[in-house]
């Protein structure tokens, strides 16, 4: 009986993994450490728990919260925002309360408790927060809700959503990649496949083709944003298939891809996503595709400080300089040849020209979501 239970249990676990493996579970996390509070100040924990107490200082200081569905240290979106939060503290002296609400059930509670505490601005990240905010925002007209990575316009005066046209920078990444590639075979490792990620991948190929018409992109879905071992396997596989530039859209899984590139014989380059990866491998990381989550938070706070707030949907793109393709002046600082550095400088130059063209409308990058 016990053994049968064991087999049953194992089957159930594998099944549940199968479901999360190919479902939308990619961006979510398990429930450990749920509701964990990562305060930027000492009393973060205490403050979050006493929901009923009136706020201590009624001064002009802005009370800002950021609720993340993914834990910090992802070498991706959340870390990008954490950096912006440090910058906000340095520039405006505003402390942003950070809460990790990893569980769907915690997310609504987190939004509601900050709103109930009369926070002035509440930032949320990713789609999970669209419904909670839609429900809660009307009850707290004095609180401003900022949805990062959402496309919904609720028509409410206190809600703004930021959408990201990340395919524009992906197109530029294609130009950079093809300029650096010898083989013309490019790799793309993704954590899962949604419209934006597929559009990025297609734009990446389009961009590459402007440099090398024969360029091809091999996209592999690693089905996880948090499996560096898998990333290394997949990266190694792409390299074995001849890819010499790999573009990632896979958060922590990318770390493994970078290791694979570092250990490869010959030059293999990486264009990462949403965080500065150059310190990990100065001669491999040639760029990072920054959607601009951190910039969003910083700009929004600086606007609010100046008394400005725009409702609706704001599209972040190369055009308004929120999304950027970050390149590195210190490329090859750990001993790349001068020849390679020159090649990189030329590639960056070409890429920047394309970015200028996207900005002034000469080049239009379409959102193409056809999966191949």
């Amino acid at each position: 009986m016990k053994k049968r239970l064991a087999v049953l249990l194992a089957t159930a676990m594998v099944l549940s993994m199968a479901l999360t493996g190919c479902g939308s579970g990619g961006k979510e996390k398990t429930d450990a450490g749920k509701g964990e509070i990562q305060g930027t100040s000492e009393e973060a924990k205490a403050e979050n728990q006493e929901t009923e107490t009136p706020k201590e200082s009624e001064g002009s200081e802005l009370k800002v919260a950021f609720i993340t569905p993914q834990s910090t240290g992802d070498n991706g979106p959340v870390d990008d925002i954490m950096m912006a939060i440090d910058k906000v503290k340095a520039d405006f002296g505003i402390e942003v309360q950070v809460v990790e609400a990893l569980d769907t059930t915690d997310q609504e509670d987190a939004v509601r408790s900050f709103a109930a505490e009369n926070y002035d601005v509440i930032f949320t990240l990713f789609q999970q927060f669209v419904e909670p905010v839609r429900k809660i925002a009307p009850e707290y007209p004095d609180t401003k809700f900022v949805l990062i990575y959402a496309t919904d316009d609720f028509g409410m005066d206190n809600v703004v959503a930021y959408a990201y046209d990340a395919w524009e920078t992906s197109y530029a990444a294609g130009v950079l990649a093809a300029s650096m590639s010898e083989s013309g075979i490019l790799g793309n490792v993704v954590g899962y496949e949604d419209d934006t990620i597929v559009a990025n991948s297609n734009a990446f190929l389009e961009g590459a083709k402007t440099v090398n018409p024969d360029a091809t992109v091999k996209r592999i879905n690693a089905a996880s944003f948090e499996d560096p071992a898998k990333g290394k396997e997949v990266g190694g596989q792409l390299i074995a298939d001849g890819a010499d530039v790999i573009f990632t859209d896979a958060a922590r899984t990318s770390l493994g891809v970078i290791e694979a590139a570092k250990e490869a014989d010959g030059d293999v380059f990486i264009i990462g996503d949403n965080a500065d990866h150059s310190a990990l491998a100065p001669s491999s990381v040639i760029g990072d595709n920054i959607y601009g989550y951190g910039n969003t938070l910083y700009n929004q706070i600086s606007d609010i400080v100046e008394g400005k707030f725009t409702k609706g949907v704001i599209v972040c793109s190369v055009g308004n300089s929120i999304s950027v393709l970050q390149t590195y002046d210190n490329f090859g600082s750990d001993g790349a040849s001068d020849e390679l550095k020159d090649k990189y400088a030329a590639a960056v130059e070409a890429t920047n020209q394309v970015i200028e063209k996207i900005k002034n409308g000469e080049v239009k990058v379409e959102k193409d979501t056809t999966a191949n």
């Binding site: 016990k2 053994k3 239970l5 064991a6 087999v7 249990l9 194992a10 089957t11 676990m13 594998v14 099944l15 993994m17 199968a18 493996g21 190919c22 996390k29 398990t30 450990a32 450490g33 990562q38 834990s71 910090t72 240290g73 992802d74 070498n75 959340v78 870390d79 496949e193 091999k218 996209r219 592999i220 879905n221 690693a222 089905a223 996880s224 948090e226 499996d227 560096p228 071992a229 898998k230 990333g231 290394k232 396997e233 997949v234 190694g236 596989q237 074995a240 922590r252 770390l255 493994g256 290791e259 310190a279 990990l280 491998a281 999966a371 191949n372």
Partner: protein
């Protein structure tokens, strides 16, 4: 083809190493679903040990020691304090995830992942001098990190120990016929405690392989279900080392194919189901065969001992 085999072996190793621990647990009759959590502890403490000492081997030893201790806690709870093994196992898994994440933030001051730290030494790849030159086999057998070799050496060692030594036979008796073992004067409790601690050490080694051999970094929840696959491999392989190795290789192959086959017009989500489909099929085949034998999978090994 060579790439496929190499990739299969690499993907299978962490699963197999943890599964070897699972075999011991099955053989002493302790249901242990905590392989995943033990592996995760191992992955973290291997990094920590390597960080403190600058040696990957010390890291692996630290991982083994910690996981041995976790195994001890687990088996004490289950055997001597009467805790439900399934619940305890899930508890250990959850604890591992929470605790490694917390310790990472405490010790290294960064959440999410630790990498590119100069003080963390990973395992170097081993190129076997002569074998390396043989055209096809050289590529397949040379160039892995040391724990891969150790894992595959452990398979026959464990098989020999289980089937051909007194201690191994006693150990199996404990799992198969507790009362007979007791009547024969064996200290059942000691076998179980030491067995599960040994299993913990193997899981620790599996974790060390993942964080220091496979990649040189630690990231939150980096085992990503490999411990559960290990358990399934144990069930599938009837807790027999060689069969379990084959099961682990099948999972490794499925895992490799799930990324290799992508990009040929087949939707990736479909291909990615492969390892899980293989697992479910394996379990179905397994239980059908077990039914045919009319006995339970790991009570059925006495005839092998007679050979």
């Amino acid at each position: 083809m060579t790439q496929l085999i190499i990739s299969m072996i690499r993907c299978a190793t962490p699963i197999l190493l943890a599964a070897l621990g699972g075999i011991i647990c099955e053989r002493v009759g302790v249901f242990n679903i905590a392989l995943e959590g033990m592996m995760l502890f191992g992955a973290f403490f291997a990094i920590y040990g390597s960080y403190l000492s600058g040696s990957a081997w010390v890291g692996a030893l630290v991982a083994m020691a910690v996981c041995g201790a976790v195994g001890f806690i687990f088996v004490e709870l289950v055997e001597n304090l009467g805790a439900e093994p399934t619940i305890t196992g899930i508890g250990i898994n959850t604890l591992a995830l929470g605790m490694t994440t917390y310790l990472m933030k405490m010790v290294f001051g960064e959440g999410g992942s630790i990498s590119a730290n100069d003080r963390i030494a990973g395992f170097e790849r081993v190129e076997i001098p002569l074998v390396k030159q043989i055209p096809f086999l050289g590529e397949i057998f040379s160039g892995y990190t040391p724990l891969v070799y150790i894992t595959f050496i452990l398979v026959p060692v464990l098989a020999f120990w289980l089937y051909r030594t007194h201690m191994g036979i006693n150990l199996r008796a404990v799992g198969e016929e507790v009362h007979a073992a007791q009547a024969a004067g064996l200290n059942v409790n000691r076998f179980r405690v030491l067995g599960v601690m040994g299993a913990g050490m193997l899981c620790g080694l599996a974790g060390a392989h993942l964080s220091l051999g496979y990649v040189t970094l630690f990231s939150e929840n980096m085992t990503n279900g490999r411990g559960f696959f290990a358990y399934v491999a144990v069930v599938f392989g009837k807790a027999d080392p060689v069969s379990v190795m084959i099961a682990a290789l099948v999972f490794g192959l499925a895992d490799t194919l799930s990324t290799k086959v992508q990009g040929n017009g087949i939707p990736s989500s479909l291909v990615l189901m492969l390892p899980y489909v293989v697992t479910i099929l394996a379990l179905m085949v397994r239980s059908t065969v077990a039914k045919g034998e009319k006995k339970h999978f790991h009570i059925n090994l006495t005839k092998e001992a007679k050979e």
